[in-house]
């Protein structure tokens, strides 16, 4: 099936070459970082995690969101998701690939990365995160590939894939829960020290991931013969709407606890993010987009109109990307343990590396989607369902 990735239209190859260009630029920037140390990034003694780890955190959510298609399709036998469930699984593969690459480029001593396995430390959440992420990658690779392969051969999916599919459901929840625990279990970091962190993560994941999936599905429909039909997209949109409402609700809960209790430590991060840090415009943009997206996705009239739906999805994706892929990590570090403010902003090499990793993920995604769609095109099942 992999050979399908080697034959494609001009658009496909242009996209691949552009992505390869970004990847090469990112690799060169990474060599620069490898040689000169993480000092080439904007991170500092006080803000010791930055863009890389926040992108990782955001993308774990995108990866976990595949479960929002797997549950209806496999658990509730919602057949209409048959066309797009593979898109979710392949999106998970690409996202986890990006997650791991982001962790790798964030390491001070990447050569020692295997120490995590050579000296297993079950009390460290990072150890568990490494385990569940690798497991999730493996599960989705095996499941996605095996089901597509079976589809191509015209056989039912192999019997062993069923238990793996069921296993992948709690596993998807676990990857984002464990990632939330990375933050939620740290004393002295008020912004993160909240029991609702994992729930917030899951809500934002189940909004952001499927929103991206809708965008991808609509893009695929425009440029390829792939068409999942109208109904599954509408169903995903409803999932996005519910999840986004939950996500905004959870943020309001956090704000209430912080400001009604009036405990300085709990308020500081929000004050930094929304009132006097360099992230203020971004955070407000995130909030405005979140509200806007709710207006665009809750009323059925807007949701059912695909041109407003895609606007809603883009707003949600950007809003959550800012919130999780920026604010969450930085807000945890600032104010510092000394109650001082150290600003963070990614540097040029850091941005290029980040873009490179995203490009790598999109290359993986492009190739996987290309294979899936080519297989369907050959089978004549790419078009809209009758």
């Amino acid at each position: 099936m992999l050979d399908r990735a080697l034959k494609g239209s001009k658009t496909y190859w242009t996209l691949v070459i552009i992505l390869l260009g970004f990847i090469s630029a990112g690799s060169l920037a990474y060599l620069h970082q490898f040689k000169n140390g993480l000092g080439v990034t904007g991170m500092s003694r006080d803000v010791s995690w930055g863009f890389y780890i926040s992108q990782f955190t955001f993308l774990v959510g995108v990866a976990a969101s595949a479960v929002m298609l797997v549950i209806p399709y496999y658990l509730h036998n919602y057949k209409k998701f048959g066309r797009i469930v593979i898109l979710g699984e392949f999106l998970a593969i690409a996202s986890v690939t990006m997650c791991m690459t982001f962790i790798f480029v964030d390491m001070g001593q990447p050569m020692r990365i295997l120490n995590v396995i050579l000296h297993p430390t079950p009390n460290s959440i990072l150890f568990w995160d490494a385990m569940v992420l690798n497991g999730y990658l493996g599960l989705n690779l095996v499941i996605g590939w095996a089901t597509l392969h079976a589809e191509k051969k015209g056989t039912p999916p192999p019997a062993w894939s069923k238990p793996l599919i069921y296993l992948s459901i709690p596993w998807a929840v676990s990857i984002h829960t464990v990632t939330a625990f990375l933050y939620a279990g740290l004393p002295g970091r008020h912004f993160w020290l909240t029991a609702i962190m994992a729930a917030r993560f899951l809500a934002s994941a189940f909004a952001g991931g499927p929103a991206l999936l809708i965008i991808l599905a609509l893009v695929l429909r425009k440029y390829t013969k792939f068409d999942p039909g109208r109904e599954p997209i509408q169903s995903v949109a409803k999932i996005v709407a519910y999840a986004m409402v939950a996500n905004v609700f959870f943020i309001i809960l956090e704000l209430f606890t912080a400001f009604y209790s009036n405990i300085p430590g709990h308020m500081h991060a929000f004050e930094f993010l929304y009132a006097h840090g360099n992230l203020v415009p971004l955070m407000w943009a995130s909030s405005v987009l979140a509200v806007l997206s709710l207006i665009l996705i809750i009323p059925p009239k807007f949701r059912e109109n695909e041109s407003t739906l895609i606007l809603a999805c883009i707003s949600i994706f950007i809003s959550l990307w800012i919130d999780k892929g920026f604010g969450l990590v930085i807000g945890g570090f600032v104010p510092t343990p000394f109650n001082t403010i150290t600003e963070y902003w990614p540097t040029l090499p850091e941005t290029i590396i980040t873009l490179g990793v995203w490009a790598l993920g999109f290359l993986v995604l492009t190739i996987l989607y290309k294979v899936a769609i080519s297989v369907r095109e050959e089978l004549g099942t790419a078009g809209p369902p009758k």
Partner: protein, 264 residues
Amino acid sequence: MRIDRRKFLQIAGLSGIGLGLSAADGLFKGKALASGAHSLPSSGTRLAFVIDVNKIEGEDGYRRIIEACHKIHNVPNIPNTKHEVKWIWTDSYEHSFPDQPNEFLPEKIKEKPFLLLCNHCDKPPCVRVCPTKATFKNPDGIVVQDPHRCIGCRFCMAACPYGSRSFNWVDPRNYLDMKNINPDFPTRTMGVVEKCTLCPERLARGLEPACAEASNGAIVFGNLADPESEVRKILNTHYTLRRKPEIGTQPSIFYVIGGGENAG
């Protein structure tokens, strides 16, 4: 090196104790009565500092202490504060004890610099989060950072509530006077985390940690588990502060704030 025979034996003794014990039971060891209550280790050793803020003689006093540490440990002097590496440094009351704000603090204390360093917590969050056991707790209470094992993930820096850990963002050797470094102590490599080690290499030779030695008695070093130790005697007679006690890490650095010898 002013050190009398009695003190020598004391330090040599307590650094020897417990070192032979297994370091494996780092994490959940020691069942305390309540999670906030204090626990004494089974090894009978828990090394600690008591810092008498009033006994440090002015700017020079602080500088002498900091330099004593940074010099022998080849800690680089990096001008860019974002990339700073520091094992022991000073900050104001407001920054050192942000959880205990007091706008009516005596002027004297408000302006007083506090020596900050790794707290060698009894329940260190940094040890809990490290994915490779690069940082761990010794039976004698020292929180150790093994730079050979460290992968530079900086999870410990996120976990440390005291900002005690530094990461080598750049090659430290570029900021060291390589001709005049301490030849007996290594430098570090780019991409690892480091912090105060509590001078095990000195303890092994029966010496006090460098900061204590340079402090003219302002920093008292000893074994908390020993009721007869000098640190315990001071704690018995003085009101002391610890940084962020409410988060249950149980720091081993105590600050005597009140009026020196006569207070308490």
